[in-house]
């Protein structure tokens, strides 16, 4: 097995699917950044480079797919919560369709 090739391929897959994973998680309820990282790790076992999450969230927000709001905390250090926007929900639905089609196609080829 070419481990290096597999590693590079997996990195690309992670990079390409992270925004999809984030949108799926944010469809359930609102999350703040650190909580979102933990949720991704719990469900996917993907070792997310935590700092890269914020540029991605910013991009999703700029695209109008997620919305954010600051919520004050007793500690005095507020949390920034993210949730899927209406446009984000519609986009996610379309992404799920594409993902299902792709999944079916790959399974068909693999048989």
């Amino acid at each position: 097995m070419n481990a290096e090739f597999v590693q590079n391929w997996f990195s690309q897959v992670k990079k390409g699917t992270l925004s999809y994973i984030i949108l799926i998680i944010l469809d359930e309820k609102e999350y703040y950044g650190y909580e979102l990282v933990q949720e991704i790790k719990t469900h996917t076992h993907i070792d997310v480079a935590e700092g890269t999450l914020y540029p991605l969230l910013n991009r999703l927000k700029a695209e109008g797919l997620v919305e954010s709001r600051w919520v004050e905390q007793e500690s005095g250090i507020p949390r920034k919560y993210y949730v899927l926007s209406k446009d984000g929900q519609a986009t996610l639905a379309e992404m799920k369709n594409i993902w299902s089609s792709l999944d079916m196609a790959i399974k068909k080829i693999q048989k």
Binding site: G33, Y34, A49, E50, Y54, P55, I77, R79
Partner: protein
């Protein structure tokens, strides 16, 4: 932004140093964007420390900051994107040039915008040429056909300049037009 206070002085220094680096990475952005980014990273560090099982402040902090990554690397795309957004909002050439510099690796679109700004500078220099050398700068026609627009060191026999001092006005209009087009391009790219 409310800083996190550590009981351990080494932990406090590590924390302060990290946020100094963050500050240096984002100082190019607007005050609002700087505050937004700092507050979000600060919140991340705070929540990570609160959720940690171990009690060693230094170990938790170092682990959290390592997972976040060096600010110079992880913040680069965020700073670049926010700078483009700021440039698209402000029409300020300083922000636009900074955004160009930060996004130089983002492809042909930025190359075109950079070319646009080069044209704007070139048009601006034509105004100076027109003032210094009015007979060699302008819109030249020869034998009823277009010959040159700009500055020419040799005006061939039979060629004449058409615009006179209106050339300066036309060039200013062109500069404004290209400036507007470039900034609109920035806004379009920012939406994508």
């Amino acid at each position: 932004m409310k800083r996190i206070n550590f009981t351990n002085t080494t932990a406090q220094k590590i924390y302060d140093d990290y946020f100094k680096r963050v500050g240096r990475c984002i100082k190019i952005l607007s005050a609002d964007d700087q505050l937004e980014i700092s507050m979000e990273l600060n919140s991340h560090v705070y929540e990570a420390i609160q959720g940690a099982a171990v009690q060693d402040e230094i170990a938790i902090l170092v682990d959290t900051l390592e997972k976040l990554g060096p600010p110079e690397e992880v913040l680069q795309p965020l700073v670049a994107e926010k700078k483009v957004a700021q440039a698209g909002r402000s029409f300020n050439p300083k922000h636009i040039i900074q955004a160009l510099f930060l996004n130089v690796n983002r492809g042909a679109a930025y190359f075109l915008i950079a070319l646009g700004y080069l044209l704007i500078i070139s048009f601006g220099s034509l105004i100076i040429f027109k003032l210094i050398s009015p007979s060699h700068t302008g819109l030249f026609v020869k034998d009823g056909h277009f010959y040159a627009f700009g500055h020419t060191s040799i005006v061939p026999p039979g060629a004449s300049e058409l615009l006179g001092n209106s050339f300066i006005f036309i060039v200013i209009l062109l500069m404004g037009l290209f400036y507007f087009i470039n900034t609109m391009l920035f806004r379009l790219m920012n939406r994508k």
